[in-house]
Amino acid sequence: MTTVETATGESKTMVLNMGPQHPSTHGVLRVALEMDGETIVKAVPDLGYLHTGIEKSCEHKTYSQAITLTDRMDYLNPLGNNLVYCLAVEKLLGLEVPKRAQYIRVMMVELQRISSHLVWLGTHAIDMGAMSVFLYCFREREEILKIFERFAGQRMMTSYIRIGGLALEPPAGWRGMVGRFLKMMPSRVDDYETLLTENRIWLARLQNVGKIKLEEAIAYSMSGPTLRAAGLAHDNRKLFPYSSYEEFDFNIPTRTDSDCYGRYMIRVAEIRESLKIVEQAMAKITDQGPIRTDAPGIIPPEREKMKTEMEALIFHFKIFTEGFSPPPGDAYVTVESPRGELGCYIASDGSPKPLRCHFRAPSFVNLQALPRIIEGQLLADVIACIGTIDIVLGDVDR
């Protein structure tokens, strides 16, 4: 139990517990607030209510088995988690993923980014009191989840991105589905902007709330829209491109006001940029081609081959019972998740199970700055600040 030290004797401040059960903490986050009236004097976050030991579990599973665990960390960005893990393992193995699979990965990860920002916008708006935006955002998110269900059979925890490529071929008719979504979405984003961007109540609640200086943001290792709102155009997709992002044409929205309103504007602009990337990816994806590299002993053989050829059967058996063993060494890969810099550090000792599998969670690191951001703010602004950092407790606690 964390306790907030208060002054002895006649105490001017009150300690209020914003408990793990709270509709606006977006998960099980506990913040002990020491308040002087309505103003926050000190805030101590208490984490760990959603800690499930994913890293330890990954170390007791083979490399392919651990992919399903990665889905469940940042549960609004499962494809992004899959991607960062698979990129790290592919780096360890020195695998080259075919271009077609890379483009499909980019398309899926950008659709996931749109879906995550829609959840953020809906929940942030409902925290501030704008209840209709919540349902509109979730209505659009349904379309994305239907696309994921068609591709992978699963709406959220898809595990669609696998080591060496993808799990399955894109389904027949996928271009129609994604095309319809792309046609519908821009006008819907315009609707959200019409409702919120110049809304007097929205502006009053979000402008000049939750400011952080750029030097402090970099010193606290913040990343994602929180850092971009402070003025630094830092995006891993442009700085250290991965999975052929260098072939796509998109902008990085950046602002200098560094408050909740700036972060809102950036995330809405990022939805539009992601739509551009999905459109470009759709044009680049060919109808025929490999979806996984050819690496016998690491990538399982096709089922037809496995049923007829002896060698393929032996590979299949070895891969699914023992697993493959990467060479000893380690790899650290960072991708740009909707929340910021998501990283995966894998160390291998030459055995089929990882020696160490660690995930650098953007929500965990960004949340570190929460006490700095909400010091001196009013209690109602705390809700805005927690929402604007865009935390997902599965990511914070793992």
Binding site: G48, I218, E341, R356, L367, R398
Partner: protein, 170 residues
Amino acid sequence: MPESDNQNNNVVAEQLRSWNAQSVSEVIEFHGETTIVVPRELLRVTAEYCRTNLQFNFLSDVTSLDRFPIEPRFEVNYHLVSIPNKMKLRLRTRVSGADPVVDSVVPVWPGAGWMEREVFDLMGIRFNGHPDLRRILLPDDWEGYPLRRDYPTEGFRDIPATFLPAFKKQ
């Protein structure tokens, strides 16, 4: 891209050696990633030098590694990014299992605060000079350090689940 990373980071190793020859005990290159192994005593000053003189202003992550039963048992890795120079670097220290203490880099990068707390919480490595070293993910009264290799995956806290049927089968 990987080749230029290697060249850039060999430059970093050279710069560190020219500043203080003992700071670089080993340079490991693997798939375009450079790791510089730093002795434990020189970690804080090397980190300070990397941030101020080599512009590694962004600390991406602090991770720990347990190589039980190989000694030195623990490794602590610092993943650095230089945003102006577009470079990545990893600093590593190795500490023995008998004395898992490392200097904290919170004075260099305040963002290391929670990252080091997580390493302390789950791996049990103490950080000298950390402003607030206590458990972060596990309850404050938890005994044991779960991410260590000798900590079981099943059981209650650090007591293995000898009552489960799987154990009785032996």
